[in-house]
């Protein structure tokens, strides 16, 4: 298990790249969950030499905490530049925690068609799952207290780091 202070986002990205390469089936589509996951998918798309742009998915419209949080989470658009129907999808996110965002993102994905399969790749699995959801690729696993928020940041040069609040 990685410790918190050793969490090197760039090193983990290199591992994620190899993990996603292994997950990719022919004609697969990469879809990043907005916002951290979308940055990762964008870079993976390029580093894997995949044609076209990666998809971006927003979980806003399917969130289960709408009655508590409303639409405060933002109004990001889902943009899928390819047909979801019958395609193998690799869903990418920065941090896997309760699993609720993944549940919402998969529901959102289904509004566009029925994928042949959906795999999940994340940089970090921080435990604390509240739903039966697991990552197919997660270079780091850490334990983080419930109140802490871990998220990916991207600087102007496109380099990744982690923010903990």
């Amino acid at each position: 298990m990685t410790t918190l202070d050793k969490l090197d986002a760039e090193a983990l990205y290199a591992e994620l790249l190899e993990g996603v390469r292994a997950l990719l089936k022919p004609d697969a589509g990469l879809v990043g969950i907005w916002s951290g996951g979308a940055w990762l998918a964008e870079r993976l798309q390029k580093d894997l030499g995949l044609p076209g742009a990666a998809g971006v998915i927003s979980s806003t419209l399917h969130r289960d905490d709408f009655s508590q949080r409303g639409l405060a989470g933002g109004t990001a658009h889902t943009k899928l530049p390819f047909d979801v129907e019958g395609r193998h999808i690799v869903l990418v996110d920065d941090v896997l925690y309760t699993g609720r965002t993944i549940r919402a993102a998969v529901n959102e994905l289904y509004d566009f068609g029925r994928p042949a399969s959906v795999a999940l790749a994340v940089l970090v699995d921080r435990g604390g799952r509240e739903l039966p959801i697991a990552a197919d690729c997660a270079p780091a696993t850490i334990e983080l207290a419930k109140g802490k928020r871990l998220s990916l940041a991207r600087d102007d040069a496109g380099r990744f780091s982690f923010e903990i609040r």
Partner: protein
């Protein structure tokens, strides 16, 4: 009409009812427009429905008839997965003598979550918002001459879609300004969003000089009003105005204030033409303009559904 606090906002200054554009900050208007952009893309999906209002009941209370507005609210609520109940109030309980607040109390007992209200009296939606249960949200779908906020917002969405930035725009609103809740909502929204020049164009009987107090430039000459405009909003000329002493005749009105291709050529070459509908071809606007390249009247209808989805989902997500 209301106390110091804006009754549309909760203690965190979040929108819980949409009663009027007046008094809402630009940040809330922009949040509604941004959210509407998200919902516009829902129409491109295989499944044109999102579950935000699943299990909620939206009651359409139209004390005054308006098939089009009611239908767009109904479509918007259904695309958010709400259950929609249409009540033809004008022909039912009120006709039997029930008071407005008794009607509302009864509907609340049926576990309504949201009321969409159209009423001939200005202020009726405020009254309802003040007397309904705290968890119930109210949307004004047009009250008297006062306000029609969702129409104002969809007009702003349309303008922003085609013109991007309000801060350089000259907007001409033409027609029966004094009786128009649409004009009033548009003027408040345009002012809040920073449009530098708003012109109210029409005859003296329909565009009185004291409109200047709303920060608009009053033009009784059509050519003056249209020249150099980026956006022209035509208002429907209500036939009942014609019968009174307010206007000479439909033909005369069209000649002076009707939007013909010749008059439109005075505006900027890329000016857009808007109209809240229903259109009276040949009364306030020429058929050739309605069907012309500068007309964005039908996109307004499409945007209207997305804007109403945004309003309903935003207020439903904010606690009292």
């Amino acid at each position: 009409m209301f106390g110091r606090r804006n009754p549309q906002l909760n203690s965190n200054d979040e929108l819980i009812h949409l009663l009027s554009i007046e008094g809402l900050p630009a940040s809330i208007l922009e949040h509604i427009l941004d959210t509407a952009g998200t919902f516009l893309s829902v129409n491109d999906r295989d499944v044109k429905k999102v579950p935000l209002l699943r299990g909620k009941s939206v009651f359409n209370l139209f004390f005054e008839n308006s098939t089009r507005t009611r239908t767009t609210f109904e479509i918007a609520a259904k695309r958010l997965s709400a259950d929609v109940i249409n009540l033809d109030i004008a022909r039912s309980s009120t006709a039997k003598g029930e008071s407005l607040l008794d009607t509302i109390a009864n509907l609340s007992a049926m576990h309504a979550d949201m009321f969409v209200v159209r009423h001939g009296e200005s202020g009726a939606p405020y009254l309802i918002a003040q007397h309904c249960a705290p968890h119930v949200h109210v949307v004004n779908a047009g009250d008297g001459r006062h306000s029609h906020p969702t129409q104002g917002l969809l007009d702003m969405y349309t303008i922003r879609h085609y013109k991007k930035d309000f801060r350089q725009l000259t907007v001409a609103i033409v027609g029966d300004i004094v009786h128009s809740r649409v004009a009033r909502s548009d003027i408040h929204a345009l002012t809040t969003l920073g449009a530098p020049e708003i012109r109210a164009v029409g005859p003296k009987t329909l565009v009185p000089g004291d409109l200047k107090e709303m920060g608009v430039r009053v033009c009784h000459d059509m050519a003056e009003g249209i020249t150099g405009a980026d956006v022209i909003i035509m208002l429907r000329l209500q036939n009942e105005r014609m019968s009174g002493a307010m206007l000479p005749s439909a033909g005369e009105y069209f000649k002076t204030f009707g939007l013909s291709p010749e008059k439109l050529s005075l505006a900027k070459p890329d000016a857009i033409v808007m109209h809240p509908g229903p259109i009276n071809r040949g009364v306030e606007i020429d058929s050739a303009v309605v069907d012309g390249l500068q007309s964005v009247i039908l996109p307004q209808v499409t945007f209207g559904i997305a804007v109403r989805m945004a309003v309903m989902s935003i207020i439903a997500g904010n606690a009292p």
